[in-house]
């Protein structure tokens, strides 16, 4: 394969208009997941759960692979896997150190199970690959409705617990003194995270969930400390990555996830550079009075 054909595989915009109509559902799905990932991601960062997201996604992968093997619904399978993992982490991993070691134990186990189920599976290889790398192009209207419905439920729950969850995430000791149910909120958030991971896996696959749930929020964190700006930027970054990734992927022959992860990564690099420059100049919002 020469360079031209590689580029043609990655970027090709023939018949773009017609394709666009065909993948409307996918674009909407990408937008919904971007919104969800951007919102949930801010709390993932505040609660230092990046590693947990990875652990949950591996178990979600195992659930999806098992569903594929027995011919059940894949989304349902991945949902079971990730919610089980999230619940386990929420209940068992109270302290950060504890949590990380539990994740380290769960992750390879989940991945191993997933590989076992996939190797037993006799169907199309594309289905297998899709679990790991995402396959949003095939979203039909019903799937989109399910996806949007689930996202709405998660976002509604998140809005309902927004302030106390934020309090418990950034200042747990004070939150407890003020009567915020810190422990319960931790478990509730893990469940919401579990559902979000399962939904995101549909787009970017189990291996790349971090690009949707971590990178946008981490990028936003580099350029702002304002809670409102953090949420807005995180959502914008995530939606840009998913929708932009899908639009770019339309032209090429390769899966969607490289586009999404690359966009996501580029946004992070730019934000990091901006944040670094500001730090060097000592700009942090402090008012300095002339003497």
């Amino acid at each position: 394969m020469d360079a031209d054909s590689i580029i043609a595989a990655i970027f090709s915009f023939e018949n773009y208009g017609e394709l666009l109509v065909l993948v409307q559902n996918s674009i909407w799905a990408g937008a919904v997941l971007g919104l969800l990932g951007g919102l949930v991601g801010t709390f993932v960062m505040k609660r230092d759960l990046a590693f947990a997201v990875h652990g949950i996604s591996e178990l979600s992968f195992a659930g999806a692979a098992f569903a594929l093997l027995i011919g059940a619904d894949i989304v349902f399978g991945s949902l079971i896997g990730s919610v089980a993992a999230a619940f386990l982490l929420g209940v068992m991993g109270v302290r950060a150190r504890d949590k990380n070691s539990i994740i380290g134990v769960i992750m390879p186990f989940g991945l191993g199970l997933g590989i076992l189920f996939l190797s037993l599976y006799q169907g199309r290889a594309a289905n297998k690959f899709g679990l790991l790398t995402g396959q949003i192009v095939s979203v039909d209207t019903v799937q989109l409705q399910v996806l949007a419905g689930a996202a709405v439920v998660v976002i509604a729950a998140l809005v309902l617990i927004w302030r106390p969850l934020n309090f418990a995430s950034v200042d747990p000791e004070l939150a407890e003194a003020r009567g915020v149910p810190v422990r319960t909120l931790a478990i509730v958030f893990m469940l919401l995270l579990g559902v979000s991971v399962a939904l995101s896996i549909q787009v970017v696959g189990a291996l790349l969930v971090l690009a949707l749930l971590i990178t946008p929020a981490a990028a936003a964190l580099r350029v702002t400390s304002s809670p409102v700006a953090l949420v807005v930027l995180s959502v914008i970054f995530a939606v840009t990555a998913t929708v932009g990734g899908i639009l770019l992927a339309l032209g090429g022959r390769i899966p969607i996830s490289p586009y999404v992860t690359t966009l996501s990564f580029l946004i992070y690099v730019v934000c990091r550079a901006i944040g670094g420059t500001r730090a060097k100049k000592g700009i942090n919002g402090r008012l300095v009075h002339a003497r």
């Binding site: 505040k46 809005v159 302030r163 004070l174 407890e176 003020r178 009567g179 942090n284 402090r286």
Partner: protein
Amino acid sequence: MKPVVSLRGASLQFGKRTLWEGLDLDIRPGEFFAVLGPNGSGKTSFLKVLLGLQDLQSGTATLGDRPVERGSSLIGYIPQQKSFAPDTPMRARDLVGLGVDGHRWGMRLGMSRVNRRIDELLELVGATDYAKVPVGQLSGGEQQRLRVAQALATDPKVLLCDEPLLSLDLHHQQAVSALINTQCHEQNSAVVFVTHEINPVIDYVDRVLYLAGGRFMVGTPEEVMTTEVLSELYGSHVEVIHANGRIVVVGLPDATTHHHADVHATAGEVA
């Protein structure tokens, strides 16, 4: 004036170890009440009881007219200074905002009302200049000023302070304790001030609860901070020296740092 904090026959034990028992106490509005004692004597547990985070083994604790409860709006709480990670996504004003409405469900509506309240509180503690600086980039003293603002957000009747001056330099110790004193003697809040070092607040303190070795003593600093009383509490001779309006306690038992394992074996020992 009616007491705002009352304890009757209050006892607290961890396993076999009695921290204190038979404690009767009334704290009135506008009173600056210091809780002193060595590490492990139950000072912080005393605060946790008032916060509703720790149950008594026996006796009662009431706040206002009601039994203590978690999340009471009568209480403001100032914790020990503990640094935030530099990239904590929270600015000074957001930390204060947590005190205003952080415990409520839903998202924040009525932004302008909350923002006005936050501005007032920042002004009160002199933190306006760094309102928009991320908390992780502030000094310990600046963070403690914000903690005072955060605790005052609900106009508390009782201000509970857990070693709020720890790890602050002298200048900030004075600034923070003066803020707490203002709330106490001008705004008429009761202040319960847990500390192992009375001198930074010696000018403000009305009464002292001294906990040591499973025993306690309540009274004015003049009554409690004497060689006789503290020797009795510690069960060994300690010398209290008054010099230039400061109080120095000499000869505290070394056990404060050593024999943690067998604290309940010896009556007079201090954990």
